[in-house]
């Protein structure tokens, strides 16, 4: 069973509907005690990094998620939820993240090194390029297009956390992870068949790992 973390920042409906279509059992909750009963967690989210971290703290979810990740249990962050898995963001000068993955969210500069302006947010369908084609999240997934909407981009020195990336005037970490802490910058629930397959794969990772903790 997947627990979708409701902290007031996500489009929970579309994630839920996607899981329903895949027949992946799930529930929504903001209560850490209830979420603790799940076998895997999804951390959705759109909007402000700063607001998101504040809400996670207010609802007592931050410590819970940190313990969850430290125990090696499966966690999938989506969009802003993925960025929260990293060290922090330059939003509001500096906002501390959950710190599971090394890297930092920076605003797209909107202009290339040679001075060409480009659009921000990075919005629309962009192509994936696999860094770890054998990764469980990418099983049966082709290097096709997925749907992105974001103004901040993760910058990381640690290439090991890159499972797939994309290109928007710079390298955009698109699927990331270490151990069972995973994330997608794009919206799998909005990325047609490729996105649905990735969600399904996460469902499988969760289902297969279930016995470990019972």
């Amino acid at each position: 069973m997947i627990g979708v973390i409701d902290y007031g920042m996500g489009n929970l409906h579309s994630v839920s509907k996607a899981l329903e279509r895949l027949n992946v059992p799930y529930f929504l909750s903001e209560d850490p005690d209830r979420l603790a009963e799940a076998d895997g967690l999804i951390l959705p989210g759109v909007g402000s990094f700063h607001d998101a971290m504040n809400l996670l703290q207010e609802k007592g979810q931050e410590d819970f998620i940190k313990k969850w990740a430290a125990d090696g249990r499966p966690l999938l962050g989506i969009c802003l939820g993925m960025q929260l898995l990293f060290d922090g963001s330059e939003e509001n000068k500096h906002t501390e993240g959950l710190g599971f993955l090394p890297g930092y969210a920076k605003h797209f500069p909107g202009v290339t090194e040679d001075g060409t302006a480009y659009k921000v947010p990075h919005m629309g369908w962009n192509k994936l390029s696999f860094k770890q084609p054998q990764h469980d999240l990418l099983k049966g997934v082709v290097e096709g297009h997925v749907y992105f909407v974001h103004s901040y981009v993760i910058q990381t020195e640690d290439e090991d956390v890159l499972i797939a990336d994309s290109d928007y005037y710079e390298t955009v970490p698109a699927v990331v992870g270490r151990g069972r802490v995973l994330g997608t910058q794009f919206h799998p629930e909005k990325s047609s068949t490729i996105g649905m397959k990735i969600l399904e794969n996460f469902g499988t990772i969760v289902a297969e790992g279930r016995n470990t903790y019972e």
């Binding site: 489009n11 629309g124 369908w125 749907y147 909407v149 909005k190 068949t193």
Partner: protein
């Protein structure tokens, strides 16, 4: 690199899809939920629903349409029309829409854009701009109320204002071209594109597939929207994308 998006638009009235030619003379072209799945399968990159219901009942029906669509659709969709308050935005986004599009209400009270962007994030807030060329301004004037009411706004000034307030995307409709089927308004599209840093969706005037390749080769539009040519199967999303690929335009 990012691809150009093709966006069918569904004008919905009391739960049914209709399309106005030059904003008058509506025809009924089908069920929104069914049509959206059809477009998804055809390779549409995104969908826009414009609620043109006049009644309170019609608006409530729209929320059901959004909820039902969100349950079947695995691509993003935007809902516009009759969104006047933060509460309206919340209702539509909670029902499963990915973005809301603001038009008249944003002109009346531009703070609505800032409030929406602060609360839900810029990526959720599209501003729909209806523009018509105006001799006196020597530029395009912004109209509200479905193109019936002229405003004091010149198009680039308004476009900059909505972006400054946090709008993450602009849906730009040429009233001169809308329904005429002789192509997108390239000069309007490029003018607005050059004025702002957010994605611009060109709308109004698509009649044949070549109009899409023109708007992408001659302007920096990020997406192109059309309604009747898709609804009445004069061309299809599939055909348009095939044509764009042949013309060297990057598409999904």
């Amino acid at each position: 690199m990012i691809t150009k998006r093709i966006i069918p638009c569904l004008d919905v009235k009391e739960g049914r899809v209709v399309k106005g030619v030059q904003f008058v003379g509506l025809r009924d072209a089908g069920d929104p939920v069914e049509l959206s799945s059809f477009y998804d399968e055809q390779g549409a990159d995104e969908l826009v629903f414009l609620d043109i219901s006049a009644s309170h009942e019609g608006r409530k029906t729209m929320v059901d349409v959004v909820r039902e669509t969100a349950g079947t659709l695995a691509i993003p969709f935007t809902v516009g029309g009759g969104i006047n308050t933060l509460d309206d935005m919340r209702t539509i986004l909670r029902a499963g829409a990915d973005k809301v599009s603001l038009n008249t209400a944003a002109v009346k009270r531009p703070e609505l854009i800032s409030e929406g962007a602060d609360y839900f994030g810029s990526q959720c807030i599209v501003t729909a701009i209806d523009a018509k060329f105006d001799e006196e301004l020597d530029s395009w004037r912004i109209y509200t109320h479905g193109g019936r009411t002229p405003t004091e706004w010149e198009v680039t000034e308004w476009a900059r204002e909505v972006v400054r307030r946090g709008s993450g995307e602009i849906l730009l409709t040429s009233m001169d071209q809308d329904g005429a089927k002789d192509g997108f308004d390239l000069s309007l599209t490029e003018t607005v594109n050059n004025a702002v840093s957010v994605p611009v969706i060109a709308s109004g005037g698509a009649g044949v597939k070549e109009h899409f390749s023109r708007v992408f080769s001659e302007t920096n539009a990020d997406a192109a929207l059309a309604a009747s040519i898709f609804h009445y199967k004069e061309t299809s999303v599939e055909e348009v994308k095939k044509h764009l690929r042949e013309e060297g335009v990057r598409v999904r």
